[in-house]
């Protein structure tokens, strides 16, 4: 019972904290994002297991976390408001070639990150080849090139 409650509480806590942290946190953009993810995993593990290293408790924790993930995805499919609450919506950062600088600041994205995505995803070379840049719900950037690219 304790293991299940701890796992459930930790799942909800992480959902809330990462919602506050913003889309770009843990988007795995840089190696440090991956390191941060690993460090967080190390930090929460002992709190859920509470010194109990048995197979039973570990299995209970895993099952609880997966069950919550399934419940959340079902609720997100079922209720649009819940989906928006948990994952938000994609955000336009470049609109018809125009940089929306306020939004870039707001979502902690710079031109370097946009050009990196443009090169990686579309093989583009210059910013004026980007028609739309979107910050997706996952925190990743997607690029729509201009029509003549």
């Amino acid at each position: 019972m304790d293991a299940v409650l701890r796992a459930a509480a930790m799942y909800l806590f992480l959902v809330i904290v990462f919602r506050f942290a913003g889309k770009r946190t843990l988007a795995e953009v840089t190696p440090f994002d991956l390191i941060l993810l690993l460090i967080i995993a190390e930090a929460v593990g002992p709190a859920m297991l509470d010194g109990d290293h048995s197979f039973t408790t570990s299995a209970l924790v895993v099952v609880t976390l997966i069950a919550f993930e399934i419940v959340f995805t079902v609720l997100q499919r079922r209720f649009e408001w819940f989906d928006r609450l948990v994952d938000g919506l994609p955000v336009l950062l470049i609109d018809n070639g125009e940089l929306l600088t306020k939004r870039l600041r707001r979502f902690r994205v710079d031109e370097v990150a946009i050009m990196e995505a443009a090169r990686e995803l579309q093989g583009l070379e210059r910013m004026d080849q980007v028609k739309y840049a979107v910050l997706e719900r996952s925190g990743k950037l997607t690029i729509v090139p201009t029509n003549n690219n």
Binding site: V17, R19, F20, D50, G51, L89, L92, D95, V134
Partner: protein, 168 residues
């Protein structure tokens, strides 16, 4: 909100974005407050954390942390005046209600020469030379989450009261 064809690329919602912004700022303030509180010792180990209680005329002094965490040992530091030794022994009594909130009484230094269940609590007897104050350390492992009232007494004297909060 920009009313451009870009809005057809993604389904934007200006109201939601504003709400998200407010929620994010509130979240950041809460996180900063949490870190500040932790630095000050609200979750143990810091300025707000240490507390001292004393019996009359400093015959019994107790130092403890106000805040402790489940599964992380904390200590009760007790100092007994040499005048309280009787035949080379001092007796410290701790109430059951406090002891029940602990997972285990990890160690007691120095080890008691005897323990007995008396008066809704446990009486620990220790050797005392009667010349120097007797210092005793109870290392305890909090179990039960929440606020706990402890009582500690010297022999049959009125107990001193102390409060600890155990976080999950």
């Amino acid at each position: 909100m920009r009313n451009t064809t870009g809005a057809q690329v993604v389904r934007e919602d200006a109201r939601l974005q504003r709400k998200e912004r407010v929620a994010e700022v509130v979240g950041w303030v809460l996180m900063a407050a949490l870190i500040g509180a932790a630095v000050l010792g609200l979750f143990a180990d810091g300025l707000l954390d240490q507390s001292e209680s004393a019996g009359s005329a400093e015959r019994l002094e107790l130092e403890h942390e106000r805040f402790a965490r489940h599964g992380t040992p904390t200590t009760l530091e007790v100092s007994v005046s040499p005048a309280e030794a009787r035949d080379g022994v001092v007796e410290i009594w701790i109430n059951d209600a406090y002891l029940d909130a602990l997972d285990v009484l990890e160690t007691v230094v120095p080890p008691p020469i005897s323990t007995a269940t008396v008066r809704d609590g446990v009486a620990f007897r220790f050797k005392a030379d009667g010349m120097e104050p007797t210092h005793i350390t109870f290392a305890v492992d909090p179990e039960s989450v929440g606020r706990h009232e402890g009582e500690m007494a010297l022999w049959d004297a009125p107990p001193i009261r102390f409060t600890q909060v155990f976080y999950p």
